[in-house]
Symmetry: C2
């Protein structure tokens, strides 16, 4: 069990929840895949390790981990994807033309977060924001 996984285990128990082998597996899978993964992909990754594990459990576990904020759920061009919330908060620029997904460090979002807190007392979770638009490559050359 890695350092991070140890941390996860403690965090789950600290909240009064149980650390089950199913939850460990899903967590491991997400770590191993190391990026955005759909529920189906997680299930396929995990299934060989524990064939009895039910698909409903994967859905519930992912939801559970999102609730605990150990996993971020995002909608990218209509697909629901999950990702471990790591040390590095980041956001994504998603091009609606070429569907490319760019990853950016969250630095530029802190201004916005600070402003939201100061102005509205709203403490924003900016650890995984999705912004859609058109990337540099996909803009029509003859931009007026």
């Amino acid at each position: 069990m890695s350092h991070q996984e140890q941390h996860f285990a403690e965090k789950i128990r600290a909240q009064g929840y149980r650390l089950t082998p199913q939850r460990q597996l899903v967590l491991d899978a997400l770590c191993a895949m190391g990026g955005h993964a759909t529920a189906g992909e997680v299930f396929e990754q995990v299934s060989p390790q524990m064939p009895a594990l039910n698909q409903a459990t994967v859905y519930r576990t992912l939801e559970f981990l999102v609730e605990l904020r150990m996993v971020a759920r995002s909608d990218i061009t209509g697909q629901t994807v999950y990702e471990i919330v790591g040390e590095q908060p980041h956001y994504h620029l998603v091009c609606r033309r070429c569907e490319h997904v760019y990853e950016m460090a969250a630095d530029q979002l802190t201004d916005l977060a600070d402003w939201l807190l100061a102005e509205h007392g709203f403490r924003a979770d900016l650890d995984h924001l999705i912004i859609t638009g058109v990337c540099a490559h996909c803009q029509t050359p003859t931009t007026s």
Copy 2:
């Protein structure tokens, strides 16, 4: 047919698509409901007007309108909701404690949009961004 609906009709035909009664109805429904609506809610609103209209058509139509950027699709606490893209771009602050959805004018996002364009050539669609976090009311009083 209202002014805005007229505009929609033209926009659909301008792109070479067809304006069908089903599409008009869905558009009308979204205008009438005037906020965020799930696919199911749209179907229920529209169904009495045209009982033959199939649920699959509602899903496809909403998708179609999103593609044309006449409708914004957003994920709010796990629910997929649709809304007419009006004149006023706005974003929402969604509290993960009380689930309340606040609506804000998009002014504060223009800085971010400008920066993304200048720095990365990315033209962001900031007409309907969802930001989750904890609202002022729901923060623990004893914040260290």
